[in-house]
Subunit: 201 residues, 2 copies
DNA sequence: TAGGTTTTAGACAGACCTGTCTGTACGGAG
DNA sequence: CTCCGTACAGACAGGTCTGTCTAAAACCTA
């Protein structure tokens, strides 16, 4: 072993690790293959034996991020029984992500923004991810509310809570401040109690 | 006059017109100078006499878009007296933009996503634009509510309505559907009546 | 130790990028 | 008509990009 800057043994892991950092921080277009192989300490030929193209690497990274992200979200949610606490746990995830990765917003949305063709597999993956988050809101967060209201009203509530949650991170990214997340959480709580009290529509 | 595909006389106008279309549809990185000059029917030398760089063109476009956008928003709002109608008018603007330009989301946010350096003038312009939208919400849309509540409560309401409005377009872009806008508008209305009834916090 | 697989470094091709430069054509003002 | 500012076409430079290729070195297993 001649050179191992990131202390990860397998090249493919080092590549994804570097791609994760660079794609997230700099964006897809602004990050070159040469920078990725340089920072992961991998030869260019090795890169192309593991990944057929730059876009394939992006897909691999997004798939890994999706898996870990959903896993972490559901894990955080499952630690609480009260619906309000579960909603709160979702927002804590945004806070923690900001503390960890800075105000870089949602890696999926940022990525989708660089692929203007809506038929691109990257766009499809991002859509699937967001749909899955919405499903988590419906099935893992608000499930307790489901029998309390008509299905269409429940769907409306799910869409609202999901939109508030997901819109918050983009605002925080733009302003580089926390207040959009605070604001979204407060509105989520109010919306929740509003629906619970039966004063819907 | 040898060639005038866009029927606009002055070259700088044709350039900005082409840039507007291409930057908005394809993104900044994916749009080359050569495509812009080709589609605007302008010589490369002419381009560089009017704009010192590609980024300067992007700035010029964003400034124009900002001006027209705020102008249109305030104009639409001013046509109504009731606060609820004014909020509704904001969302009508999103609907109309989607009908006109497709599900391409917010041109400012998309642009900001391609400039990872938060000190970039493009990022500053986008932040200023969003702050200005928030000011419009405070001064032109919700102004009637201001004397009804404490200043910090009013600010909270402004942030909520603004975040709902601005988050909706990103969701609509991702899903290529209208429902996030419907959802945000409904939540805005409920939030409004909630605050109005005095049942805040 | 032997053999086959993986990784290494880096040159290279071909395309594309921004921005500069040369030279020509046109059109209005004096 | 002459002059001058503006726009034209397009070659060109210098750099960057992705992806391919060569050939040697390292590694693992038998």
């Amino acid at each position: 072993m001649t050179h191992n800057p990131s202390s990860l043994s397998r090249p493919s892991e080092r590549i994804i690790e570097a791609a994760s950092r660079l794609f997230f921080r700099q964006g897809y277009c602004s990050t070159g293959i040469n920078q990725i192989i340089s920072e992961s300490g991998v030869a260019k030929a090795s890169f192309y034996t593991h990944f057929p193209s730059k876009e394939a690497l992006a897909m691999a990274w997004l798939r890994q991020r999706e898996e870990r992200w959903i896993e972490q979200l559901t894990e955080r949610i499952s630690q609480h029984q009260l619906t309000e606490k579960r909603v709160s746990a979702m927002y804590t995830m945004w806070y923690d992500q900001i503390r960890e990765e800075g105000y870089r917003g949602c890696g999926f949305i940022n990525m989708a923004g660089e692929f203007s063709d809506e038929k691109s597999p990257v766009r499809a993956l991002v859509r699937d991810h967001k749909e899955r988050v919405r499903q988590v809101v419906a099935n893992n967060v608000l499930n307790e509310y489901r029998p309390m209201m008509e299905p269409e009203v429940f769907d409306e509530l799910v869409n609202t809570i999901y939109s508030l949650f997901d819109g918050a991170i983009i605002q925080a990214q733009n302003f580089m401040q926390d207040w959009p997340i605070d604001s979204a959480m407060k509105t989520s709580m109010k919306t929740l109690s509003h629906y619970r009290s039966g004063a819907v529509l």
